[in-house]
Symmetry: C2
Subunit: 356 residues, 2 copies
C-alpha cells in the first residue's frame, strides 16, 4: 500500500462495483438504456468497471471529457450540457470518430450547428421539468421551431428530449424526490406522445441520482443518466438516497495539528482538495464533511460520532471532534473525510487518488 503523503482520494473498488451493479440491474429490469454520467468520477479505471458491467453508452458534461473518454474507446457519448459553440472544431473532430449527442435549446444554436458541422450530429432538446437551470419548458413554442429547423438540416438528427431533475437536491424528504421524478416523467411522456407522430424514432432521457437511487423502476423513460450514485456522498446520505456503507470515496488527509483547548484537529486538506461545497447543518454551522478513521489498509470506519469538518481555507481544514477521540490522534497521522459532494472532490483530486 502506497504511503499517503498528501490529500488523496481513496476509492473503494468493491463499493463502486456494487453501486454500479445495483443501478444497472434496476435499469435492465425496467428495460431502459443505462447511460451513466461520467462527470462524477472522470476516472479511467472506474470507467472500466462500468464497461465490465455491460455499459457502452455514457454521459459527460464537457467536450474535454468526451475527448478523454473517446480516446479510451467509448464511442457513444452524450454531452449533457448546452452545446458550447466555441468548441465547434473539437466537436467536428469527435463526431468523425464516435456517435456524438449534443444538447440544444434554441433555433440560433441549431442554425449554427447546421452551418458549421462537418459531420452528422445527433441533437437532443434540453427540457426544463422544474429545476430551472437550463432547458426549455415543455410548453415553449421554441420546441416546435427547433424541430422544424432540425428537419430541414441534412446534417442534424433529432435524438429526443432530455431532462436533468436537479431540483431533487432541494427537497426535505424522499417522497418529494419521487414526486419530482413522477412530474418529470409525465412531462417527458406527454412531449413524446405529442411529437412521435412526426418523428418516429427518438428517446426521452432522464438524469439525477437521488431519484434514480430511490426509484423502484424507470418505466416510461427510454434512458437514465445518473452519475453521483457511483460514489455517493454526505449530500446523498442527507437526502436519504444512500446509506453510509454506499459511500465509495473518502479523502485521506494528514493531521498537522492538535488544538486541545478548542477540541479541534487541523488537517492538510482544504478547499483545493475537498471543495467549498457544504451543507447548512441544523446546529447552525457549515458542514464540509464527516470524519472517519483509516486502518492500515486505508479502509475506513463509519463516521466518528460528533466529529465534522466545519471550516476550510485554501489548504487547511478544521475538524471539531470530541476530546476522547481527539486525543487518539497526533501530527503525522491520517484521517479520512467523507465528501459533501463527491463530484467536486473527485474533480479536484483527479490526479491524486488510490484505488483500494
Amino acid at each position: 500500500m502506497k504511503f499517503v503523503t498528501q490529500p488523496t482520494l481513496l476509492i473503494d473498488s468493491k463499493k463502486v462495483i456494487s453501486n454500479i451493479r445495483r443501478m444497472k440491474r434496476k435499469a435492465d429490469e425496467s428495460g431502459v438504456v443505462f447511460r451513466p454520467h461520467f462527470k462524477t468520477h472522470q476516472n479511467l479505471q472506474v470507467a472500466e468497471f462500468f464497461r465490465q458491467e455491460g455499459v457502452s453508452k455514457i454521459t459527460v458534461s464537457s467536450v474535454s471529457m468526451a475527448e478523454e473518454f473517446a480516446s479510451q474507446g467509448w464511442n457513444d457519448i452524450t454531452i449533457a450540457f448546452p452545446v458550447n459553440l466555441r468548441e465547434m472544431d473539437q466537436i467536428n473532430q469527435l463526431a468523425k470518430k464516435i456517435q456524438l449527442n449534443l444538447l440544444v435549446d434554441s433555433v440560433f444554436t441549431i442554425r449554427f450547428l447546421d452551418q458549421h458541422a462537418s459531420n452528422h450530429l445527433t441533437t437532443l432538446i434540453k427540457i426544463d421539468t422544474g429545476y430551472h437551470r437550463t432547458g426549455l419548458l415543455p410548453s415553449d413554442p421554441e420546441i416546435d421551431n427547433i424541430l422544424k429547423e432540425i428537419a430541414s438540416s441534412p446534417k442534424l438528427t433529432f435524438g429526443g428530449f432530455l431532462t436533468h431533475a436537479g431540483h431533487t437536491y432541494q427537497t426535505k424528504e424522499k417522497a418529494e424526490i419521487l414526486d419530482i421524478m413522477e412530474q418529470s416523467r409525465e412531462q417527458l411522456i406527454s412531449l413524446k406522445h405529442h411529437h412521435e407522430r412526426f418523428y418516429p424514432e427518438f428517446i426521452i432521457s432522464y438524469g439525477d441520482t437521488p431519484s434514480c437511487s430511490l426509484a423502484t423502476h424507470f418505466h416510461g423513460f427510454d434512458e437514465i443518466r445518473p452519475g453521483n450514485f457511483v460514489y455517493n456522498d454526505v449530500m446523498q446520505l442527507h437526502l436519504g438516497a444512500c446509506s453510509p456503507g454506499d459511500i465509495a470515496v473518502v479523502t485521506a488527509c494528514p493531521v498537522v495539528s492538535i488544538i486541545k483547548e478548542r477540541e479541534e484537529l487541523a488537517i492538510y486538506g482544504g478547499a483545493v482538495h475537498l471543495s467549498k461545497e457544504h451543507i447548512e447543518a441544523d446546529q447552525g454551522f457549515q458542514l464540509y464533511g464527516y470524519v472517519v478513521r483509516l486502518d492500515g489498509d486505508l479502509r475506513w470506519s463509519d463516521p466518528i460520532p460528533g466529529a465534522f469538518v466545519y471550516s476550510l481555507s485554501q489548504e487547511h481544514g478544521l475538524i471539531s471532534m470530541p476530546k476522547k477521540e481527539l486525543l487518539t490522534f497526533k501530527p503525522g497521522d491520517l484521517v479520512g473525510i467523507m465528501p459533501i459532494h463527491s463530484c467536486l472532490t473527485a474533480n479536484l483530486l483527479r490526479e491524486n487518488f488510490l484505488m483500494i
Copy 2:
C-alpha cells in the same frame, strides 16, 4: 490573441505589476522584508514579475508548491502551513538545496523534525493572534517548551514568530481591519521583547492581504507575507481593500444559453472553474462573481450593473442580468467573471490561463 474555447483565467500583466510595485514600495519604505505568498497565483510567469521587482524570498502553503518554485530558482522559501510530517522525505530533499523555513506549533513536531531531518532546518513558531485557525496563543506555555527543544537540537534553528491574521476577512469596515493588524503587531512585538534576550536573531512575520493593502506602513514587523493583493478579487473589493481597477484577473467563460423569460445567461463556467466560494449578498442571494464585458483583446470593462453569478453547479454558471444587457449576448459569445476569491479560481485554472 488565442481563441478562447473553455473557461480561461485572464491575467492582466499591467495590473499585476502595478499591484506588486505598490506593496513592494510600502514594504521598502517601512524597511521590512517582503516575502509574498505565492499560493494565490502558483504561476511561474507571475513569479518572474516579482523577481523583476527585486523579490527573492517567498511564502507558499504546501511542500509541493515549495518544490515547484525551488525548481525555478527560488531559494528562500517559507512553507506557511503547520509542517506535514508525512512529507519528511520531500522536506529533506528541499532543505538540501534551499533555505527552507517551516512552521511548528508543538514539542511533538519539533522532536519528530529533530529525529528525521537530514539537513539544517529553520523553524518558525505559528502564533494565533485572534484568527483561531492554527497556531499557539501568545500566552501558551508550549512556546517556551518548543524554544527549549529547538535550543537542544543541533539541526534546528529558531527563525521567529509568524502569524496570519485571517480574521480580517470577517470584518465589516476598514477600521476593524487595521485594528486587527494593530493587535497582531502588539502581540508579536511583546513576544519578541520577551524572548530576544535569549535568542538574539529572529524575526516576527505578519501575513494577510486586507490589512497589508490598507496599512500605510509596516513598522514593528520584520517581514510581511500578503498574497492575494497580486490579483485581488470581489472579496477584497467588498472589504474595501482594493478598487475594481486593482482586480487583475477575470475568468473568460463561453455563453451557452440565453434564458429570456428569467433574464438569465447560462455559461460554461462552474464550480470546477470558479470554485463554490461566495459572498452572502445583502439582497439575500449568494454572489459567486461579478460580470464584465470582454473586448476583442480580452480586456475587460467595469462590472455590468445589476449582473451577477448567482448559482454554480459542476460546469454550469447562471448569471442574472437586466434584459437590456442580456439581449446583447448570444450563444458562443464570451463573458468575463470577476472572481470572489482569486486564490481558489487561479488554483482551479492553473493550467488554463492567458496573460494579457
